[in-house]
């Protein structure tokens, strides 16, 4: 028995395990930082964690008492509840809560079980980060977490098993000899490292197979917004443009869609390299305190078209019409998402039954259900039924913007007052304003949010002088309105990545853009874009801004990550397996037909099945939630049953020896003695006769002794389900029996 060696082994094992757990925690907090795109909070958390580990690791058992830790965790729960009530994202708040609990755990006086809990918390924090963000940084943290958690878990399993067998090293380690020394630790560490590498490689391979093999696009959105990443995906389809958020434009390179543009007169593909196309999604024509929203968002402003064929006629097609074919690549399209158009939509074909809503004023069209379906929109430049605003009747409420617009026009030799200015000059006026912004303001993605007390557009024009496309668009639209020219902000995508081999534009999440449409003549809306780097593409702009090789590498890595991992979809799967991507629609159509048949069977109304595919959504949602609930209930029932059946049993008894503790032996001994007494008086026990009945029969002629033995039997029976407190009572019962029987023997009783 080598106490010193065993202790050294245990210390080395525990120290290594704790370090690995700390590494896992740090990686999880890094992932949290990447997911929130924040530096300060994660740095604070990491510092707190590391410091806590160092302080509490110096001496075993030192650290924050558990009641204090539990109080802090309770306070974190209350704080999280408050934040959610105030409107914070549930996922972000939950991640904040997990990080706080992790920090508390690091400062807490640690027990063996705490290491496993911290490891679980770290893994859950990483998973939560993935829910929030799919960026390259988060992906790298997932990779690091895999390795760190694997190593920590292997060590933890060894240490936890050892701690279970040897709970108290000070007193018990001497009882197990040969538990190892430093050599043993070294001989254990080496194969464990090899095993970690092997597991990491094999696990990554299996994960890769699962990643590639699980079919995409099925049951997407069946359970609402659960696990839909809120960052790093599509921002070009946002309901509004809010300048108060600062730099929140997505930089993700995830391919959102592919767009093909052809002339309606079959003149061939339109567009090309260096010819960006503005794909309109939303028209935002109401400015209120730094937020551009759509004035026609009210329900009665929309016209709804239901069609079984998927073709919607909105207006007549002129000779200059363009055909825009959109192939969505991402599945994260919610309901009532806008249909992308080049100009005003005249016809739309959704290749199947759908419901379409159209706003004739802004020319915005929305589809309800065909969120991942290809569609074709025929666009025209000339509005048909649009109610046009009157020139000179529009204005902008922010005085600073109005003053600046007037100043710019005066400097350029134009009259700011629209009533005194020649309407023919309006097209030149908007160009002057656009050029002024492009020349004098800088493009930046990392702008801080503007002060709350100031209007964001005014702050951008007068103080900040740097911002992203939304600031430029807001400023230009505001200045146009200030000088009486109707203008509005348009949100959508700026497609600039043209593939000559396919004739298609690939549109990525980072291509989300905002620009301006100004009415320079009655019914003529001109597209204006004051953003300095818009025509050159944002990808090039970032490279110029970073000005370093490292930045370029990181940018390329991000693009590669986004295109190969984040935007990996069903089409990519088909390509990977060597299948023709065009079969996708056939497969989908087959699935849809099967679903419709099921619907028909269920509802008995074929028309309803065709026109209301929402039924399938509800069914699938119900089925998915039902499956989840059934799984959880089964697991809970299984755990409860296991706990119930194991309750009270002792498969591996500790030590019920009566001499030191416990009364099992006393109970058994007393019952045996009573059996012998009964047997001595009535040797034949009737089949099925209880011991009590047997004793009653045996002691029928000795009422006093019968009373004593029955009392003893009752005590013994109750002691079977009791604890040590029955010990003295059982001993007294034995003595009473002895007294009574001895007295009977001597003739005294």
């Amino acid at each position: 028995v080598s106490n010193a060696g065993a202790s050294s082994f245990g210390q080395s094992l525990r120290r290594s395990r704790d370090r690995a757990v700390l590494a896992s925690c740090v990686v999880a907090l890094l992932g949290y930082g990447f997911s929130q795109e924040s530096v300060v909070m994660p740095a604070l958390f990491i510092g707190t964690c590391v410091l806590g580990f160092v302080v509490t690791g110096r001496e075993r058992g030192s650290g924050m008492p558990r009641w204090a830790a539990n109080t802090l965790v309770g306070a974190s729960i209350l704080g999280g509840w408050y934040l959610v009530r105030e409107g914070s994202s549930v996922v972000s708040t939950f991640l904040l809560f997990l990080s706080a609990v992790l920090c508390v755990k690091c400062w807490q006086a640690r027990r063996e079980a705490d290491a496993g809990q911290m490891l679980s918390l770290a893994v859950f924090l990483t998973i939560g980060s993935v829910l929030d963000n799919n960026s390259l940084g988060v992906g790298l943290c997932v990779l690091l977490q895999t390795a760190a958690a694997l190593w920590a878990n292997l060590l933890h399993q060894v240490q936890a098993t050892r701690a279970r067998v040897i709970p108290d090293e000070q007193t018990q380690e001497a009882l197990v000899s040969g538990t190892g020394d430093n050599d043993a630790w070294r001989s254990l560490r080496r194969p464990l490292r090899r095993l970690t590498i092997l597991f990491f490689v094999l696990g990554s391979l299996i994960a890769g197979v699962v990643f590639v093999g699980v079919p995409r696009g099925q049951l997407a959105g069946a359970m609402g917004s659960m696990a839909v990443p809120i960052r790093g995906r599509i921002t070009g389809l946002a309901e509004s443009v809010d300048l108060r958020l600062g730099g929140t434009i997505s930089e993700s390179g995830a391919a959102v869609l592919e767009a093909e543009l052809t002339a309606a007169n079959r003149a061939g593909i339109v567009g090309g390299e260096g010819l960006p196309q503005y794909l309109r999604a939303r028209v935002l024509d109401d400015y209120d305190g730094g937020r551009w929203v759509s004035m026609v968002a009210r329900e009665d402003g929309w016209r709804t078209y239901r069609t079984q064929t998927g073709i919607v006629d909105l207006a007549s097609i002129g000779s200059s019409a363009m055909v825009l074919r959109i192939s969505p690549r991402s599945q994260a399209w919610g309901e009532h998402q806008p249909v992308l158009t080049l100009w005003r939509p005249a016809q739309a074909d959704f290749h199947g039954a759908t419901e379409v809503r159209f706003d004739p004023e802004s020319g915005v069209i929305r589809q309800t259900y065909a969120k991942d379906r290809q569609y074709t929109v025929v666009c025209v430049q000339t509005p048909t039924r649009e109610r046009l605003p009157e020139r000179g009747s529009v204005s902008f409420k922010v005085a600073g913007v109005r003053d600046m617009a007037g100043e710019i026009l005066r400097r350029g030799g134009f009259e700011p007052d629209p009533l005194r200015r020649d309407p023919e000059e309006d097209s030149r006026v908007v160009r002057v304003l656009e050029s002024y912004l492009t020349a004098n303001y800088a493009y930046a993605l990392d702008t801080p949010p503007p002060p709350i007390a100031r209007d964001p557009t005014e702050y951008f024009l007068t103080t900040g002088k740097a911002g992203h496309c939304e600031y430029f668009a807001s400023a230009l639209a505001g200045m146009c309105r200030s000088v009486g020219i109707p203008a509005r902000v348009v949100a959508g995508y700026l497609a600039n990545e043209f593939d000559p081999s396919t004739g298609r534009y690939t549109v990525r999440a980072r291509d989300a853009h905002a620009w301006v449409e100004a009415m320079v003549a009655p019914g003529v809306w001109r597209t204006l874009d004051a953003t300095p780097v818009a025509t050159g593409g944002f990808r090039a702009a970032r490279r110029d801004n970073l000005l370093s090789w490292l930045g370029t590498v990181v940018g390329d890595a991000r693009a590669m990550w986004d295109s190969s991992v984040v935007s990996f979809d069903f089409q990519d799967q088909l390509k990977l397996f060597g299948l023709d991507p065009s079969r996708r629609s056939a497969v989908r159509r087959g699935v849809a037909r099967a679903i419709e048949k099921l619907q028909r069977l269920r509802q008995g109304n074929p028309d309803a099945a065709q026109t209301r595919p929402v039924g399938w959504r509800r069914t699938s949602t119900t089925v998915a939630w039902g499956l989840l609930a059934a799984g959880l209930c089964s697991a809970a029932a299984w755990a409860l049953r296991r706990w119930w059946t194991r309750r009270g049993t002792n498969e591996e008894p500790s030590n019920p020896g009566w001499a030191w503790r416990g009364c099992d032996r006393a109970v058994g001994g007393l019952v045996r003695e009573l059996t012998q007494l009964a047997k001595s008086r009535a040797p034949d026990r009737a089949p099925g006769e209880t011991l009590g009945a047997w004793l009653t029969r045996a002691f029928a002629r000795e009422p006093k002794a019968l009373e004593v033995v029955l009392e003893a039997l009752s005590l013994a029976e109750s002691a079977r389900f009791g604890g040590n407190e029955h010990g003295p009572a059982l001993a007294a019962a034995r003595e009473r029996i002895g007294t009574v029987l001895n007295a009977r023997t001597t003739g005294a009783g």
Binding site: V176, I206, F211, V228
Partner: protein, 376 residues
């Protein structure tokens, strides 16, 4: 030592495994619902964890063999060293973090229940082996301290591990029969008893005619009181006067330890144990002073049952302790033993305290007294 026989291999699902599977289920639902590709990747990692854990842990324990080396005899209060030798026949995988634990009962593949009977005598013998190399072996010795005399019947022992992921507990159950007789602890006997025994033994050093002697010594004139069966009838007839045969006294000094079973039967268990431990203390004394020890129990006023005759055979003390390890005051039939206390043998009687009244404060005390086999 033979290896234990494998009777079952089991996977025990426990709460962490259920939680892991539940989390994996939620992960795949979330990934499908949100089409969150990174979540698909994490789901893949979770599935990989399940697969690798199942494969590796099963293979790691598949080739494990175990042998238990338990001593035949132990003593209450003294560490009992049980050695477990684990041998890994697997050519590829080592076994990590193996917990070896004795079981009170286990069910085999054929649903036969194997029971053990050690749990009342010793704490659970359990040990931990951090690694059993492939095609290698590793031995661990567990020291457990018995706290009760009796026979520990070893049976099933289980080697289990939650390695590598902790999702399930895999176990291999072995059965290897074996027994360890746990002898009682020895209580210190009062010094006055030693003196009285010595005095008693000195008194019987004068040779007396006795038919129970070991060896014929001489003939002498008959003296009143000599037993009739000591008369040498042939010599009496030849000499025409009564002649008595004398024998040499028994070699060594015979001391009998008598447990008052009749009185102890209704005594508290603790009193009985103290009595047995006192008897074991007498064995220790006998070893120290070179007494020849015999063991008997007093069943009633006039009934004495010899449990072991006093003998100078080697290992007598051990045999006495073995009997004490299993002795109980219950009037159970036992095989008859030859021999009885001779006149003049020293007798140590262990009984509940004479002055103690049942239910009184002194009723748990044990008394020890010394006297002569010929006296009262």
């Amino acid at each position: 030592v033979d290896e234990a026989r494998v009777i079952s291999r089991l996977y025990h699902f426990h709460l962490p495994g259920v939680a892991y599977c539940g989390t994996t289920l939620v992960l795949v639902l979330g990934a499908i619902n949100g089409q969150n590709n990174l979540l698909f990747w994490i789901f893949g990692l979770a599935v990989a964890g399940l697969i690798l854990s199942g494969i590796f842990s099963g293979w790691g324990l598949m080739g494990l063999r175990l042998a238990r080396h338990a001593p035949a005899v132990g003593r209450v209060g003294e560490p009992l060293a049980i050695t477990y030798t684990l041998r890994n026949r697997n050519r590829v995988f080592p076994a990590f973090a193996v917990e070896v634990r004795e079981l009170s009962k286990a069910r085999s593949w054929t649903l036969r229940v194997h029971r053990s009977a050690w749990q009342e005598l010793v704490p659970v013998p359990a040990t931990f082996v951090e690694r059993v190399p492939r095609r290698g072996e590793s031995a661990r010795t567990v020291l457990v301290t018995p706290n009760k005399r009796g026979v520990a019947r070893w049976g099933t022992v289980r080697a289990s591990s939650t390695f590598p992921m902790g999702l399930t507990r895999k176990s291999v159950t072995f059965v290897q029969a074996g027994t360890t007789l746990v002898r009682p602890a020895a209580l210190e006997v009062d010094a006055s008893i030693v003196e009285r025994v010595r005095g008693q033994l000195r008194r019987r050093e004068r040779p007396r005619p006795t038919p129970d002697g070991d060896e014929f010594l001489a003939l002498r004139e008959y003296a009143p009181g000599d037993p009739l069966k000591t008369l040498d009838w042939r010599a009496t007839a030849r000499l025409q006067r009564p002649v008595t045969r004398t024998f040499t006294p028994t070699r060594g000094r015979r001391v009998w330890v008598v447990l008052d079973a009749g009185a102890l039967r209704w005594a508290p268990q603790e009193t009985i144990e103290r009595g047995v431990s006192l008897a074991a203390g007498c064995v220790q004394l006998a070893q120290q002073h070179g007494w020849t020890l015999g063991l008997a129990e007093r069943l009633g006023e006039d009934r004495l049952r010899v449990l072991l005759d006093a003998s100078e055979r080697a290992g007598q003390d051990g045999r006495v302790l073995d009997i004490l390890a299993l002795w109980s005051p219950a009037d159970t039939p036992r095989p008859a033993q030859r021999g009885r206390p001779h006149d003049g043998d020293a007798v140590i009687v262990i009984a509940p305290h004479a002055a103690a009244q049942p239910g009184g404060p002194g009723d748990r005390e044990i008394g020890i007294a010394c006297g002569s086999a010929g006296g009262s």
